[in-house]
């Protein structure tokens, strides 16, 4: 046994021991707090701020796109929108029903939106509806206190007021795709020398960011995009904004505007004139190269794409046999057919074909053991260059081609813009094909045969050209051989005005004049293939204006144009289809109709090319369309009017809310 212990003393002693331990532990906690605040190398204040503050991107308003006179074709305007935060929507269905009642939407919309909201992220505002009228917006705003989770907001949205008519040249913006985001994160981004905003995946994922995905919106994306702003906000653990940190923010900068060469009125008119057809029309200033109209039909509504087009609507567009999504004016490639005959004519004259060389056309040309037919069964009889163009005699050009040779024809064709990519600043520009013996060999098809040259003479075979290239050809014929380059963008930040176009080398003015005379004949002389298209019902006034023919224009000189029809075979002519009227053949098997022209004859200023897919012969459908577009162009005289100035257009920022 141990000696007697004084338990009282032990209790006292141990009480002090325990108390000292407890106070030591409490002091340790105090010291620990001091340590965390001072000596601990982790910067907790920074960590707290990282938790607390979030930098939110403010997408910049996109640069506007104007027509040549300042008409707004693409705008970023304030839009009244309704958003909903799923987390706050205590009675979702009642709220949506109230919105539906105000905005006159049906039960189906409510059901769809209920599904959308259920699938959305709980704390992020989800776009319910945009494009509210001021009245609807006011009606919703009044009831906001009872409509939990609903946000009535004015946001930026890209709008295309002209819709379909400009869908192809202007294109549209869309949310960045997964490919954009992948590219931003890949090392390729450095190599491609992308600007910072396209290398920022976080920025691209922002729901307000849009990128140009078609037309000039895509090509001029970096010019139009603008500089993003940001604002610092305080957030809670769930990422919801608690408050704004006003002084730390940067306002976004609007992207540069873009003035196009297009004339909105003419474009709309050209587009409407082609209604129902699968067609394209290009109107070009033969002096400056300005594209005054560049329309493809049918169109589509680019506004559908801005916030994501529904898959059914996209499928309908994509599967339409008239190909509304296809930018036919620059991306379509067609055999130019007889519209190519001017090139063959020039090449033949250059090759030494005499001014008075005549060919007898019996309706066919026997060559290489087979007969090459003329489109006119009975033949044209004896024709010279003028009459061959006027009557579009195939037999003359079969032989002219043989005399000129394929290399020469190809060279002249390229000089007039065939086979050349005219970079007007839209995506997917077709450069077409100009076949020659070298190209033929390059294709692995062996030795060029004279039979190919014969076909080349009437613009058939492998030759392919876009409507834009045909317009360029017509323009270069009209301006007496100046290699004018087409342009779509007149003015934007950093764009230099083009210099004067050089003359085409080696082409003699008299040869050009000869084919022009032939084109004049097409529209204005007996036996011309498009005299109907040549009758514009316009007259020159003595003071140089162009007016519609009426009682008071008696005695004035009628306005004349020169042109050329063309027919591109879609499939080989068979005995079953030869001579059969086009309207009795199935649509997709009909020939493409083409027409190129320029005017006014007195002093050519405008060139025009029209292609109507499966429109039958060039004089049937394409000619009248070209005539009407040309007539409207001459009446408006867009090149004679003062064009808009970007700086002046951009200075009136404050009217942007009311102007649309």
């Amino acid at each position: 046994m141990s000696p007697k212990r004084d338990l009282q003393a032990i209790f006292t002693k141990r009480s002090f021991l325990l108390s000292t331990g407890a106070f030591g532990a409490l002091s340790a906690v105090g010291a620990r707090i001091a340590y965390l605040q001072t000596l601990d190398p982790t910067n907790y204040s920074e960590a707290a701020d990282e938790n607390r503050f979030d930098t939110r991107i403010v997408a910049p308003p996109r640069g506007r796109i104007y027509d040549r006179f300042g008409v707004r074709l693409a705008v970023t305007s304030r839009d009244f929108q309704l958003k909903i935060v799923p987390e706050d929507a205590t009675d979702l269905e009642a709220t949506l029903r109230a919105v539906a009642a105000i905005c006159e939407l049906d039960e189906d919309w409510v059901a769809r939106r209920v599904r959308d909201v259920r699938n959305a992220r709980r704390f992020d505002p989800l776009l319910l509806r945009q494009g509210l009228t001021r009245e609807q917006f006011a009606a919703v705003s009044v009831r906001l206190p009872e409509l939990h989770g609903l946000i009535a907001d004015a946001g930026d949205v890209r709008r295309y007021p002209y819709g379909e008519a400009f869908a192809h040249p202007i294109g549209y913006v869309q949310k960045p795709t997964e490919r954009d985001i992948t590219r931003a994160q890949s090392p390729e981004a450095e190599r491609e020398d992308l600007p910072a905003y396209l290398r920022n995946a976080v920025y691209l994922r922002n729901p307000d960011v849009r990128l140009g995905k078609a037309g000039v919106e895509a090509t001029w994306e970096q010019t139009l995009h603008g500089d993003a702003g940001w604002r610092k906000v305080e957030v809670n653990a769930s990422g919801r904004v608690v408050s704004e940190v006003g002084h730390e923010s940067r306002a976004p900068n609007r992207g540069s505007g873009l003035v196009l060469t297009l004339d909105a009125e003419l474009q709309r008119l050209a587009f409407e004139r082609m209604a129902g057809e699968s067609a394209a029309a290009v109107v070009m200033d033969v002096v400056t190269g300005d594209l005054l109209a560049m329309a493809s039909a049918p169109g589509f509504d680019p506004n559908q794409f801005v916030n994501g087009i529904s898959s059914s609507a996209f499928r309908a567009l994509n599967e339409d046999d008239h190909k509304p999504l296809f930018h036919k004016a620059v991306t379509g490639a067609y055999a130019p057919g007889s519209t190519f005959k001017m090139i063959v004519g020039i090449a033949a004259r250059e090759a030494g074909v005499e001014d008075d060389w005549r060919v007898n056309c019996p309706g066919y040309f026997p060559f290489g053991g087979r007969n090459f037919h003329c489109w006119r069964r009975g033949g044209h009889g004896s024709v010279d260059l003028h009459n061959a163009i006027k009557g579009s005699c195939d037999v003359y050009f079969y032989q002219a081609a043989l005399r000129a040779g394929p290399e020469r024809i190809a060279r002249v064709a390229r000089q007039f813009g065939f086979g050349v990519k005219h970079d007007i600043g839209v995506p997917s520009i077709e450069d077409g094909i100009v076949p020659d013996p070298d190209w033929w060999r390059g294709q692995g098809r062996g030795v060029w045969t004279p039979g190919l040259t014969v076909n080349f003479g009437i613009g058939q075979g492998d030759l392919l050209a876009s409507p834009l290239q045909l317009a360029v050809m017509a323009a270069r014929l009209a301006n007496n051989g100046r290699a004018v380059a087409p342009r779509l963008v007149r003015e934007t930040a950093g764009l230099q005005p083009p210099g004067e176009a050089p003359m085409i080398q080696g082409v003699r003015a008299e040869h050009l004049a000869a084919v022009r005379e032939g084109m004049y004949g097409v529209c204005n002389e007996g036996g011309g293939t498009a005299t109907r298209a040549g009758d514009l019902q316009l007259a020159h006034t003595p003071d140089g204006r162009i007016v519609e023919v009426g009682p008071d224009t008696r005695g004035m000189e009628p306005v004349r144009i020169a042109g050329k029809t063309g027919t591109a075979q879609v499939r080989a002519i068979t005995s079953a289809t030869r001579g059969v009227h086009y309207s009795r053949i199935e649509w997709r098997f009909r020939d493409h109709g083409l027409f190129v022209c320029f005017g006014p004859w007195r002093a050519p200023r405008y060139a025009c090319a029209v292609i109507v897919e499966h429109g039958g012969g060039g004089s049937a459908v394409a000619g009248p369309i070209a005539r009407d577009i040309m007539r409207a162009t001459l009446l408006r005289g867009p090149s004679a009017q003062q064009a808009a100035n970007l700086a002046a257009l951009e200075s009136d920022d404050d009217i942007r809310l009311t102007s649309l």
Binding site: S15, L36, D40, A48, V242
Partner: protein, 381 residues
């Protein structure tokens, strides 16, 4: 000394009794509870004062009950001690058999009218039972191994039962209170040192075999064996950020971004001390620690001047329980010990810990009020 004698010397009227209560302790308890009210108001989630009012109301009711209970003479506590322990033990076994599982742990026993956690009752009962045991034990036996075994069993059985629920925090607190009482009762160092060794081995064993995955995860994270800032480590990381960024005087009342913006989890319960430091800084945290320190000191003072072993050991046991709560909780939120679900008593939202502590302090107040009575051993009624 007899009851009659003491009754003769002191006036026994209710208001006289009230006046002789240890008002220092009552003031400290109230001050600490007020800190809770203030902090709950700071982050009232629903914008109303519901939580602070509830906290204040709960404290007021419990304080009234505690004062009423303090009027009971020491012999009542003495007589009730084993019975209380027995009831607590039976209820704990009842939990084992028929307990209700909430949030993965079986701690609650539904008694029809109220549902309670018998483990909380045990925290007080273990102190009273051990105090009585040593009060009853003749001094010469207190030092022997044989007579040391019953208290070890008294502690071990409920600790094992609570551990099995599983409730690591409460079992630690029960063990701490029991061991503290044994230590103060004069447990010999020659028993203590081997027991410490055994405890160490037992801890490793428990870590390997007994602890649940989530408990092991917490320890792993604490020891730096695992880095898991979004999982088990998240609470402590956010807590350290809040404390580390607070500075000497804090972000200001209702200005703590970690607390106000919900980055700090459990801010009104286990991590409320973090919020105090974030909003009131090192100074605020130190003040709260000092309040607790004063309360412990007051309880120890009661223990020192109590005349009976029962009173001394009981009051000191309550002080030890309080100290365990505060030290483990504050060390946990500052990252000094692994995460254990132990609230900051009287401040954290919720009635359980408050009830346990108020019951304990009812006993302390009673001991102090009746310190002139001999109580304890030899007193019959």
């Amino acid at each position: 000394m007899t009851i009659a004698a003491s009754a003769a010397r002191r006036p026994q009227g209710f208001f006289n009794q009230l006046a002789r209560l240890n008002w220092g302790i009552i003031t400290l308890l109230s001050a600490i509870a007020m800190v809770g009210v203030v902090m709950h108001y700071s982050v009232s989630a629903d914008g109303t004062a519901r939580m602070p009012i509830e906290h204040a109301t709960r404290f007021a009711i419990m304080l009234s009950l505690a004062i009423a209970a303090a009027m009971a003479p020491t012999r009542v506590w003495y007589a009730a001690s084993y019975g209380l322990y027995g009831i607590a033990l039976i209820l704990l076994i009842g939990v084992e058999i028929a307990g209700e599982t909430r949030m993965g742990a079986t701690r609650w026993l539904d008694l029809g009218v109220i549902s309670l956690q018998p483990s909380e009752l045990m925290k007080v009962a273990i102190i009273l039972a051990l105090a009585r045991y040593y009060d009853d034990l003749p001094p010469h036996r207190a030092s022997t191994l044989l007579w040391t075994l019953p208290p070890v069993a008294l502690i071990a059985v409920p600790v094992a039962l609570v551990m099995h629920q599983p409730d690591l925090g409460t079992s630690v607190l029960i063990a701490a209170a029991g061991v503290a009482v044994m230590f103060l009762a004069g447990l010999r160092w020659r028993f203590i040192l081997p027991a410490l060794g055994a405890a160490l081995i037992g801890t490793v064993f428990a870590y390997q075999m007994v602890l649940h995955d989530y408990q092991r995860d917490r320890i792993d994270v604490f020891l730096g064996l695992r880095n898991d800032p979004l999982g088990e480590g998240y609470h402590v990381l956010q807590s350290k950020i809040a404390i580390g960024s607070a500075g000497l005087t804090g972000q200001g009342y209702m200005q703590g971004s970690q607390s106000q913006n919900d980055f700090l989890p459990e801010k009104q319960t286990d991590f409320i001390f973090t919020m105090i430091v974030e909003e009131f800084g090192l100074v605020g945290g130190a003040c709260v620690l000092i309040l607790y320190g004063l309360l412990m000191a007051a309880a120890m003072q009661v223990a020192m001047r109590a005349k009976t072993d029962f009173g001394k050991l009981g009051a000191a046991g309550v002080a030890a329980t309080l100290a365990s709560y505060v030290i483990i909780n504050t060390m946990m939120v500052t990252g000094l010990v692994p995460v254990v679900g132990i609230p900051l008593p009287m401040i954290s939202y919720g009635g359980t810990a408050m009830m346990t502590l108020m019951a304990g302090f009812a006993f302390v107040l009673s001991i102090d009020l009746h310190r002139d009575q001999t109580g304890g051993r030899g007193i019959l009624w």
